[in-house]
Structure formats: structure tokens, C-alpha cells
Symmetry: C2
Subunit: 256 residues, 2 copies
């Protein structure tokens, strides 16, 4: 089950054996968390980097009056807590969504690794760029899409990301968010999430029972969401249900 980070970074550039091994070393010191526990990375000066091994977490921000916005969804293989320079993160927090196993990597260990394998710096920078691209897509999602489209888009994004780290079985995956958390991620109310998910169900696009999400018709879901996954910069050969690939095919989106 190791090598999850090497696998992810290997998407960006070919990694050597020693590079992969050094990355795998980082996962040694693991810690377990229950659901809804904060990963306090920002305590004082000794900020550390955190690698999600198993389970899920999210980054969020809260307004003074209590409104909450989820900013990032972390899945296994993701790093949270800035790797490269400092600059305090402000009032953002990271919390687990499900029970999770994480590897806490001291800043120095990380710095030493990058020192020894300069190519990893590039790979990490790529990962940071992808994170930024995901942020942009979320801005588009929340700013322009309707509730129905937004939910469909998030499901597409999550499913594709999970399948890139081998966490899908056929057209099924785990949805690590409650409807209330989906609401906080998409800028909608929990009630509206509920009704709109039912709409997606009755349109035959998905099946959602508990945490188990099944994509019944990926092309239709993708087209409803106007989802074009190229911003995720995943390997081109990634196979998705129905033989679809990441880019929006000519027939599905631009063809209206």
C-alpha cells in the first residue's frame, strides 16, 4: 500500500528508483485520526507537512458569523500544509472527513529530501500548480454553474482523482462527504443538495447509498457538469467507465 506519493508525483515526471524509495521513506511515521479531527499543522513555528495515507480530509475557512467554505478535498496521496516556503496560512484549517491515516513529515525531513533529489522539487511544484488549477476550476464551478451542474462536476472530479490512485472499483467509489459537507464545499444549502442529488438519481446519472457513490452514466454526468478533467493533469491513459478519457470529447461538450 506504500508508494502512494511516488505514484502521484510519477504522473508528472519519470522518477528514478532511489527517488521513489526516498519518497516511500517519508510514510514511516504514521498517525491515526478519527473522523472530524483537526490536523493542526499551524501550531507555532514547527509547522510540518502531512501526507494522507488513507481516508479523507479537507481544508476550509470560516467567516466570523459561522458560514463555512470547504476549499480543498484531500484524498490519499495528497500533501497538506505547504511544502515549500513559509508565509503563514492565515485562518485556514484542515480537518479529517473520515477516519484517516496520515504521515506527519517534519519540515527538515522534507527539506533534506528535496535537497538530495532536486528533480523532486519540480514534481512538487507541479503538484502545487495542479492544486492551483483545481482552485480555479472550483471558482468557475461555484461562480457559474447551477446547483445540479456543480454537484455533477464535483462527483466527476472526485471520481477521476480517486481512480488515478486506484481507489475506485469499476464505476463505484466512496463519497467521503455528508450532504452538509457537500453544501459547504459547493456554496449551497444542505437541503438543496439533498433535493438536487435526488434529481441526479432520478435522471439515472448516479446511485448514491450512504457513502457509496456509483456513476451510472459517466458520459451523461460529464456532459451535464461540462466537466473537462484536463486541469487535473493526470496521465492520459487513465481509463474511466464507458471507455471515456479525461478530455471532453468533441461529441459531449463543444458539440452542444
Amino acid at each position: 500500500m506504500g508508494g502512494i506519493l511516488a505514484r502521484k508525483l510519477g504522473n508528472f515526471l519519470e522518477l528514478s528508483g532511489p527517488e521513489r524509495e526516498s519518497l516511500n521513506e517519508l510514510g514511516r511515521q504514521q498517525r491515526h485520526h478519527g473522523a472530524r479531527e483537526h490536523l493542526s499543522l499551524e501550531n507555532g513555528l514547527s509547522r510540518s507537512v502531512c501526507l494522507i495515507i488513507e481516508g479523507n480530509a479537507c481544508r476550509y475557512k470560516i467567516l466570523p458569523d459561522g458560514r463555512r467554505q470547504i476549499l480543498t478535498l484531500f484524498i490519499p496521496g495528497d500533501l497538506c500544509g505547504r511544502c515549500l516556503p513559509d508565509l503563514d496560512l492565515g485562518d485556514e484549517s484542515v480537518v479529517t472527513l473520515t477516519a484517516a491515516t496520515v504521515a506527519v513529515i517534519p519540515r527538515q525531513a522534507f527539506a533534506a529530501l528535496v535537497e538530495e533529489h532536486p528533480r523532486l522539487t519540480r514534481a512538487l511544484a507541479c503538484a502545487a500548480l495542479v492544486e492551483e488549477a483545481v482552485h480555479r476550476e472550483w471558482i468557475v464551478n461555484i461562480g457559474q454553474r447551477t446547483g445540479y451542474e456543480r454537484i455533477a462536476h464535483l462527483f466527476c472530479e472526485l471520481f477521476v482523482r480517486l481512480s488515478a490512485v486506484g481507489l475506485t472499483q469499476g464505476n463505484r467509489c466512496e463519497l467521503p462527504l455528508t450532504q452538509g459537507e457537500l453544501a459547504d464545499a459547493l456554496g449551497l444549502s444542505a437541503v438543496h443538495i439533498n433535493r438536487t442529488v435526488q434529481q441526479l438519481r432520478s435522471d439515472g446519472l448516479i446511485c448514491l447509498r450512504g457513502r457509496e457513490l456509483t456513476i451510472l452514466d459517466f458520459p451523461a454526468l460529464q456532459s451535464a457538469a461540462m466537466f473537462d478533467g484536463s486541469y487535473l493533469h493526470l496521465p492520459k491513459n487513465l481509463t474511466l467507465p464507458h471507455g471515456r478519457n479525461l478530455e471532453a470529447g468533441p461529441g459531449s461538450l463543444h458539440g452542444l
Copy 2:
């Protein structure tokens, strides 16, 4: 008028004389653009970096059905077009909002600069992190705030950013967006922008005539927007109208 980039990066860490000079060198080859002209940075492989000298631009993304979301506002001193590694940007575009002067920096010149002055790498990475932090704040803005709050927040952000590069006069600055463009940036309709701006006016928070934006009551605007500018990571000693500083004071936000 030179040194606008050095000034910005100098916010993050102290720059040496030679470092500043090298940065200023980059601005030599300038190009003029009218309003609403595309800065095509993505033509083929020879992608270059673009430094805004004067005027304004924005990055945006368009959905297949024409809906547009503005993702980033560029002001003088900003770099657009990724500086560090590659990864194609996808279907994002950059267009000027006003007439603008830009310096087009070939990728190699940029790489050489970073090679010669390693500390600049850190400074550029900081700038990238701030850009990411701004993206996050926009997600919160669009996802959680009402139209009224959203507009107020954008005005706060823009005013503070402009004042950091000396482009404000007292409590006045230029607003480089039409109401239609504001709509595309905030995920609202142009009509609603219009009505809500009038609300801000009649509440005595701002005065907006043409492109001239005057902040009549910064503390009130900041509090209406729940604006806490620390995510911009600007120098602490930045003086704003009414003697306010960047962080939300205890009386304005968290005090509720």
C-alpha cells in the same frame, strides 16, 4: 516608475541591490495593448512570462455555453503566465481590461535570472503562494457571501492591492472593471451588480463615478465584507484610509 516588480517581491524578503537591478532589467522590452486585447502567452511551446507595467488585465475561463468566470485580476507589478515549471494551462486566457503596457519576458531570460539569484526563486514562490491564497479567498467570497458582501470584498481587496503599489490617491483608486466584468468576476448578473452598487452608494460606503472608485468609509466597507486582508501578505506598515491596517481589528469583525 521602474522597479515595480522589485517593489512587490521586496515585500516578501529583503532584496539586494544587484537583485533589484536584475529585476528591473526585465522590464526593458515593453509592448502596448489596447483594452480587451488578448495576451496570448500560450501559443505553442515558446510560452513567455508577462509583467504588467501599467493598466490592468484578467485571467478567465469560459464554459462551452458561453458563461464566463474571471479568475484573477492583474494589476501593475503582477506576473501572468506561469513562471516556474511547465504544465499547459489548459483553456484559460488572459485579456487586458484597460489599455496596458506589459513587458514580455522570454522564458530563458527568466530562468537565467533565477539561476543567478537563487533568493529570487523563494520570492517568486511566495508570490505564487499569495496568488493561491487569493484564489481561496475568492472561493469563500463566491461560495459564502451575499452579492452585497461580495462586491464590498472585491473593492477592499482591489483597493488594498493597489495601495501597496502606490496606485491610490488618498481614499480613491481606479476601478478597472465595467459592471459586466464585475459580474463575471463575482458570479452575479450585471443587473444585480448595478443595483447592489447603488445600495453600497446609498449606504455611504463608496462613491463610484465612471472608473473612479472612492472609499468613503473603509472600516464600514471592510466590516460589511468581512474583509481580513492578511491573506494578501502585504507589509504590515501599509497605511490605509482612516488609519486602518490590514488585519480585521477586534472591534470590526470577530467582536460581532
